[in-house]
């Protein structure tokens, strides 16, 4: 795809170093507790740890047994217990319970807690409160960054989104700054940093402080530019259904740490298979960024080629056969296996997506993005709620409706909210309050319908001062969204949008919508700053910045200037990554995505639910 793609894209830096550093520090920390020990690992750290150190590495450093933290009394017989955890109060309390239970039975053990990526003072407070502070030693494993692929690095902190944007807790700001600092120290100095959003600004400042605290060695930069962006700058993109292969696989099968588990319906056998999805998988690498409608054609072609390659062996003599087996067969078999899996996955996706409900859902989503047939969409959503179909999907559509229509009419808002609570439980009052707070699902204020708004944009820009409420923020967001959609998003009506030869980033949403987040990045890079985008940034609640030069010669025209690191604070989707890859090919540059976590519509909505204890 992208036939206009440039061929002079620079090479990406090697992020294997990040893994090695993390592993070495972990080993160092394990050795701080000499002798045999049992290791307790927090559940959501298991996959990330797995990418860093394997069991034999741990065993070599005298880890005897491994356990998952389950908040239950433990059965370990070891005299030394080591806990590898996130700095969460609940987990620290559980460790205190374990230690206190030992004390009560007169059992003596040594305890060590390794917090990752850092310890919080609140954790110390718990240890102190529970009278355990002298009994345990604590350490920090500065495992900030996990490379998931050549161009994706994750902080694996999904809670960043809710903590920061909903609870207003800034505990992870420093963490984000430290992650950036680590990248700067290893791959910088960065010559230019752009950003937008309140959290981005704070993370940037935290990073600068850390740069000033330490000393900077002069080195050849491998990454030239950095772009920081808050998730709440663009909520539309992560709320949309993903139709690019990798995103679709994430929506349906849930990709965890670049790994997916394909169930029996995909493998056509009775067992599930876990597969790594990254650039090492040659089949996947070729289809991951493709619009789903292209994937069939590609896989069919691939299957034909494979058949031809296998067929070559007919009529071979012994010697030729020997060469074939030793040189080609392994590769072919590998490809055969991957091909079967991806074909199976496509079939499974088709089975789910061709159901009537899904078709209607997608049609409604398109109508919302395009701003047509709004009444029909509302009654579809209402019926969806009445039938008690997926509460996440219902909320997702409500949010999309609210953002694209600049809030719901008060009458609609009240009626849909009431029906939602009746279908899924009154407890969701809290969920609605959360969504309102973030500006995701709000009531339209009198006189601020979309049409009125569009005519008022200019005036609003002039009248606005700082300190926005969620509502106004949202209102402005939609204005941008609409104007970008008109200006850049939807192609001219006399042309077909050919998804096989995408002409812009809109292909990731079937041509319906250009992801705002990526559009901003493109514009800022093109203009080398925010000049000319003042109107847009003011409408987007600003906090934008562009800073030049850190010790390095920013004018240097080396390859590093075409390596751009984009950091998403609050999560990014695979669709956005695909869009940036497309942009990179178009512009002859490469993007590295650093994100607090990979997100999608259901993760985003689930993070805002509040109907459980």
């Amino acid at each position: 795809m992208a036939h206009s793609a440039r061929t002079d894209c620079p090479e990406l830096p090697d992020f294997f170093l990040l893994k090695r550093l993390a592993r070495d520090q972990l080993i160092y920390l394990l050795e701080q507790l000499p002798g045999k020990k049992d290791l307790f690992i927090e559940a959501d750290l298991m996959s990330p740890l797995d990418r860093i150190a394997n069991v034999s590495t741990l065993k070599q450093h005298e880890v005897d047994k491994l356990y998952k933290v389950e908040y239950k009394p433990i059965v370990s017989t070891s005299d030394q217990l080591c806990f590898l955890i996130r700095p969460r109060i609940q987990t620290v309390k559980w460790i205190c319970d374990v230690a206190n239970a030992d004390k009560a039975t007169g059992r003596f053990r040594r305890y060590k807690i390794i917090f990752t990526p850092q310890k919080f003072y609140a954790c110390d407070a718990v240890l102190e409160e529970q009278g355990i502070i002298g009994d345990v030693t604590t350490d920090e494993w500065s495992f900030y960054l996990l490379p998931l692929d050549d161009d994706i690095i994750s902080l694996e902190l999904p809670e960043f989104f809710r903590d920061n944007f909903l609870a207003g807790d800034q505990r992870w700001v420093r963490t984000a700054g430290s992650a950036l600092h680590l990248l700067h120290s290893l791959y910088g100095p960065f010559s230019k940093v752009y950003g937008i959003g309140r959290c981005s600004k704070m993370a940037y400042e935290s990073w600068r402080e850390q740069v000033e605290e330490g000393e900077q060695k002069a080195r050849q930069a491998e990454i030239g530019k950095v772009f920081l962006i808050d998730r709440d700058v663009d909520f539309v993109t992560p709320l949309c259904s993903q139709v690019v292969y990798e995103g679709l696989v994430d929506d349906i099968f849930k990709i965890k740490c670049a790994c997916v588990e394909f169930g029996p319906d995909v493998t056509s056998s009775d067992k599930s298979i876990k597969v790594m999805l990254n650039s090492q998988d040659r089949v996947f690498n070729e289809i991951r960024n493709e619009h789903f409608s292209n994937v069939f054609g590609f896989l069919s072609q691939k299957a034909r080629n494979l058949q031809t390659s296998y067929d070559k062996r007919r009529g071979m003599d012994i010697k030729q056969m020997k060469t074939f087996v030793s040189e080609e067969l392994k590769g072919l078999k590998q490809e055969h296996r991957l091909l079967s899996l991806h074909i199976g996955a496509c079939e499974s996706i088709m089975k789910k997506k061709t159901k009537q409900d899904f078709q209607e859902l997608l049609k409604t989503e398109h109508s919302l993005l395009e701003g047509f047939e709004i009444r029909e969409s509302i009654s579809f959503i209402e019926e969806h709620i009445n039938r008690q179909v997926s509460m996440i999907e219902s909320l997702r559509l409500l949010c999309l409706l609210s953002i694209t229509e600049n809030g719901l009419l008060p009458k609609d808002y009240r009626s849909l909210k009431a029906q939602y609570l009746q279908s899924y439980g009154v407890d969701h009052l809290l969920t609605f309050a959360n969504l309102r707070q973030l500006g995701l699902l709000v009531e339209q204020q009198p006189g601020e319908t979309l049409t009125v708004m569009e005519s008022k944009v200019g005036k609003l820009v002039n009248d606005r001062t700082g300190g926005e409420t969620g509502f106004l923020f949202n209102l402005l967001l939609i204005t941008i969204f609409v104007s970008l959609r008109i200006r850049a998003g939807v192609p001219k009506s006399d042309e077909e949008y050919d998804l096989r030869v995408p002409r812009d980033m809109a292909y990731i949403f079937s041509g319906a919508y250009v992801p705002l987040s990526c559009k901003l990045i493109e514009q800022v890079l093109e203009r080398d700053g925010w000049t000319g985008l003042e109107e847009v940034t003011r409408l987007l609640n600003g906090h934008e910045f562009a800073v030049t030069g850190y010790g390095a010669d920013s004018k240097a025209k080396n390859d590093a200037q075409r390596i751009i690191l984009v950091m998403f604070l609050g999560g990014c989707t695979f669709s956005e990554i695909s869009a940036l890859r497309f942009l990179g090919r178009e512009r002859g540059c490469k993007f590295i995505v650093v994100t607090t976590a990979i997100t999608n519509s259901s993760r985003l909505i689930e993070a805002l639910l509040d109907n459980l204890v």
Binding site: R20, Q170, E209, L299, M350, N386, S423, Y424, A512, V613
Partner: protein, 426 residues
Amino acid sequence: MMKNKADEEDYWNSSKFKAFTFDDEDDEFSRLKESKRAVNSIRPLVDEDDDEEEVEKVSWSGEPVGSKTPLLFNTYCAVIGWRDYVSDWSPEETVQRMQQGKAVSLEKFRSLQDKLLLLDYAVSAHDGNVITAPLWDLFVFPEVLFRELTDRQTALRHFIHYLTESKDQRLLLELLRYLPLSTPGLPLLQYKEHLGIADENKRRDFLKSCLSLPFSPEDSVHVEDHYTLLERQIIIEATDGHAERGGKQEIFQKFPRKASILNMPLITTLYYCCFYHYTESEGTYSSPLNIRQTFKLSEKQFFVTALAARAKLKAWPDVDALFTSRNWLGFTRKKSPLSFQRVVDVLHKNSAPTQVLQDYVALVDDAELRITLAQKHKCHDIVINTYRDLKDRQQLLGYRAKMARGSAEERKINELLNNSQIRWKN
């Protein structure tokens, strides 16, 4: 976006990109199926056993163990900052050192002023970790902390989040009671407490106590409904549990209850009552009509739920009755607040037989949609009649080919095709 209808249609007719709909008629999908067969039919040359090795092992299979790299590691330590000593620092320096994870002593900050200075520096440094830490030192009298927090929104939000995370309900409630009632979201935070109450009677009493909280008018209706619903569920649960154990009521024997109705949403409760208590008079708590009235449910909500429940029981006469209304001439006709397409969908999901389905398929207005549904559900009469009405001889011919030889359907089609009264359009 106030486009009028004509504009919209105009737009759709000339739409430049086709909304992607995962259409399974897609040629390429059928090609894909072929490919799958092809791929699966390729026989491996070597035993499958050694394949196991190639399968990515994702559990605990990191890179091979390598030697340690002291040089890199030292750089790393320098980057992340290793601890140094305690000394006499100003509040500002203390905050900086705390951010760096260096040892500090908070003991010397004894005066309230000093403590607040520490807090304010922490807030301006945007470090949530450090913001929470000095809060502890202000803790001797919670009221003092509460008072100071009311003017410090950022610190307040950190503190509330901290208390929520540490599940310190007592202090959280104390704080909430201290804060001015105008604090946004306050009543909801209190209402949230009910989620932690397991005993249904205690939960109901708690909800009752929430009724006096200053919710918005709209939300106070919802909270009142929540209370009323739980109160009702407790009664229904007790009565039905008793009836089920007594073994006298056939419905509970035939369809044992799968779960308790306590704490279920209203619509689920209505479904339950339509399932077990459909014919009860309006006077009882468990009567569907009573629920509909009490909670002011719309016709559509009631209809969808009753339809699903009665269809589940295969009570087709009840299903039929839901649609029946008499007009002023006394004729009965079928009316539905739901599209008949959706009705067919609901009935089909509850495995309604073709005889039942066809009555409703026939009521779908749009001819094309009607044909699609009729074909899907094998309602041959409807397909045939619709083609007849459309005077579409070609389609009828095509459809005849799909019918079994000598079947009633084939005969019917033949009769139609031979009927000289019909003016076929093709």
